[in-house]
Symmetry: C2
Subunit: 229 residues, 2 copies
């Protein structure tokens, strides 16, 4: 039933129809409503997942209650593969920011999953590598850049991954709050609010409740690069 969707994903493109069917036979589809969690930080990792549609955010909470957004999961991406890290539990909480569809496999099938096609293992490693690269980018930005540039970078990244062309500009294709952006950039919702308000006045973006439309991508990019206006 999801065959055609999955078949079109780069992750599975080299897999034969028979193998794919075998894989799908063991998967459980699940609908996740907005605001609902697929799994919670610290829970035993019983499954790993593929996001078919919608959007998730993966968060971590620190001992003293502070929260950060570790990753945004886009359709076609694997998530919750704690077994790859040889971890018994999920390191974060995966929550739907829009109504989403996931496919779940039991964790014990992980080695089977990546053993099936050598390419699948390689692809997964590449995904991991890309995430690592992104994490290092965030670290670099947090170390060296002021918050306005970090927010600009974050929004540009989101627009690339989840941008929808509208008349007014490119809109981030899922609800996103000031707090979310703050948790992605290592600042406070107050600072984000001030920055977005300023950009709104300058005509760079158009903001609303849980909504951001980018009107001037090059302008934002210039800000992100730290160039003078």
């Amino acid at each position: 039933m999801h065959r055609t969707v999955i078949k079109s994903l780069p992750l599975f493109e080299t897999m034969s129809d028979a193998d794919l069917d075998g894989l799908l036979a063991q998967a459980t589809p699940r609908r996740v409503a907005q605001g609902e969690a697929v799994f919670k930080q610290g829970e035993t990792a019983t499954s790993f997942f593929l996001l078919l549609s919608g959007r998730l955010k993966v968060t971590q909470v620190t001992g003293d209650g502070q929260q950060i957004i570790v990753r945004v999961v886009h359709p076609g991406e694997l998530f919750g593969f704690a077994k790859a890290l040889a971890r018994p539990d999920y390191p974060g909480t995966a929550m739907a920011v829009t109504d989403s569809m996931t496919l779940a496999w039991p964790s014990c099938l992980w080695s089977d999953f990546i053993g099936r096609t050598p390419l699948l293992a390689a692809r997964t490693m590449q995904t991991l590598g890309r995430q690592l690269d992104e994490a290092h980018t965030r670290i670099r930005e947090m170390s060296t850049q002021e918050s306005e540039r970090r927010v600009a970078h974050a929004i540009l990244r989101l627009s690339g991954k989840a941008g929808r062309q509208e008349e007014a500009g490119i809109q981030i294709g899922f609800p996103i709050s000031r707090r979310d952006i703050a948790e992605m950039t290592g600042t406070t919702l107050h600072t984000v609010s001030r920055i977005l308000s300023a950009w709104n006045t300058q005509g760079l973006v158009e903001v609303g409740r849980q909504k951001i439309i980018i009107r001037d991508i090059p302008g934002l990019a210039r800000l992100a690069e730290g160039k003078p206006e």
Copy 2:
């Protein structure tokens, strides 16, 4: 010649002697003097490496010349496996902080390398996962903690990986400057200097030129956890 050393690494423990010999036959050993680079950021990734002895730091430079330390490589760890990310170039510079020994394989052997033993692929993925986890920890710390706690965490982590028991306490087993710590924690060498001086006065550590001896691990741990003294 390095057989016994390598054989004892967890990475290769399940490999047969014959396979190991095959692998070693294709590897090139190389001595790297302190301060010398194994590879530089942006260079074409012609090889991937294993650190036999010594210690490396992997750094990245931003467009505007700011530098951060992405990772410290300890003996027995793989590094420079850009091919796993399907990257053509090295994302950072690997520099020896002590005289080191490395083993290099041509990049084209990477798929052969991880294909040889399924376990090797799994292990590499776990390594990648651990690095990702560590990166997220750094992001979390940089988002939520003041610099003193971050420095405490960084030093505790180093002492765990490279600590040497001395009479005065546990010494970090390689030369490390204030600047290095600043580049690992996202602050300035000035701030690190002030923090270490204060700790020195309090008897938590004993500092010297490129040298740190930890005298009170529990005390540092308490600081790292943000507990009141």
